[in-house]
Symmetry: C2
Subunit: 155 residues, 2 copies
Amino acid sequence: MIIFFIEVKDLPESWKDVFHRFNKKATSSRRAILEVFEEKGQHLSAEDVYEHLRAKKKKVGIATVYRNLDLLLRMGILRKVNFGDGREHYEMIRRAARFHHHLICTRCGQVVDCEEMTQEEEEFLQHLRKELEQRQGFVIHSYHIYFYGLCPRCR
Amino acid sequence: MIIFFIEVKDLPESWKDVFHRFNKKATSSRRAILEVFEEKGQHLSAEDVYEHLRAKKKKVGIATVYRNLDLLLRMGILRKVNFGDGREHYEMIRRAARFHHHLICTRCGQVVDCEEMTQEEEEFLQHLRKELEQRQGFVIHSYHIYFYGLCPRCR
DNA sequence: TTGAATGCAAATAATTTGCACGGAT
DNA sequence: ATCCGTGCAAATTATTTGCATTCAA
């Protein structure tokens, strides 16, 4: 019994439950958008999501895409990232995944994710964060590092 | 004489010279835009620059502002920063100034610059940069850290 | 059933572009 | 004098919004 209880407790909350927790409906558009992020992965623009939905024969209006990207942002499921190309991009914040940086090629625009962070890096950023909180009086929830340079092909 | 020579050599290159070096004309619009950044400082949007110019009675069309922000970007005088508010911002890269981070309030949108970086921080970032260069084959020219949280008034 | 979500098209907002004219070299 | 740079207005691109209809709860 106890084991059963623990297992249930540790099961990941379904998207349906997450929506319900926020008093939002688990509509098919929303499920489809989440599916795109789960399948296609990183940093998609609204248009990217829209195109992927079309490719999957799911008819979701572009306005609905925008509205739901914003909702998922406010629910803390997505975060916004920006690569200076004139449009916002979104990516899923996975519970298990660590924060990652982005490496942007200033010539061709290619973006590479850098997932692996060393223990040392992690500690350093926590330290920097604490220091900034004290110095500026902010409460810091998250951070994001962008590196700019030339990718192997462009250098 | 020697001292005089050294002084001349160390004098900052005038904007006029910088433009000439890039085979660009040192027009009054361009000078006025640089003046705004020198006077008003950090992270201005195209519209911000345009408004500051109007306030200074300099008539420069918004298209010219956009064209020159892009030029100054390519010349390495400005860099683009983005705070997720739907518009690009630009700020001057001063030779003397170190890289600085930005602290963004996710509630009111306020942006605070964090200029001071400790020796330790500087070294760490160089280290991280070297590591990424090796791991990804990029040549990294610059980086930018954004911190997100709540400002003193919003928390 | 019933209000929240959606699709569509129209409205905004940000940025870019075409072209005739003006100004820096 | 010669082009580069500019202003203006029109064109594009990204995103938001109004409203009648649809659908999850």
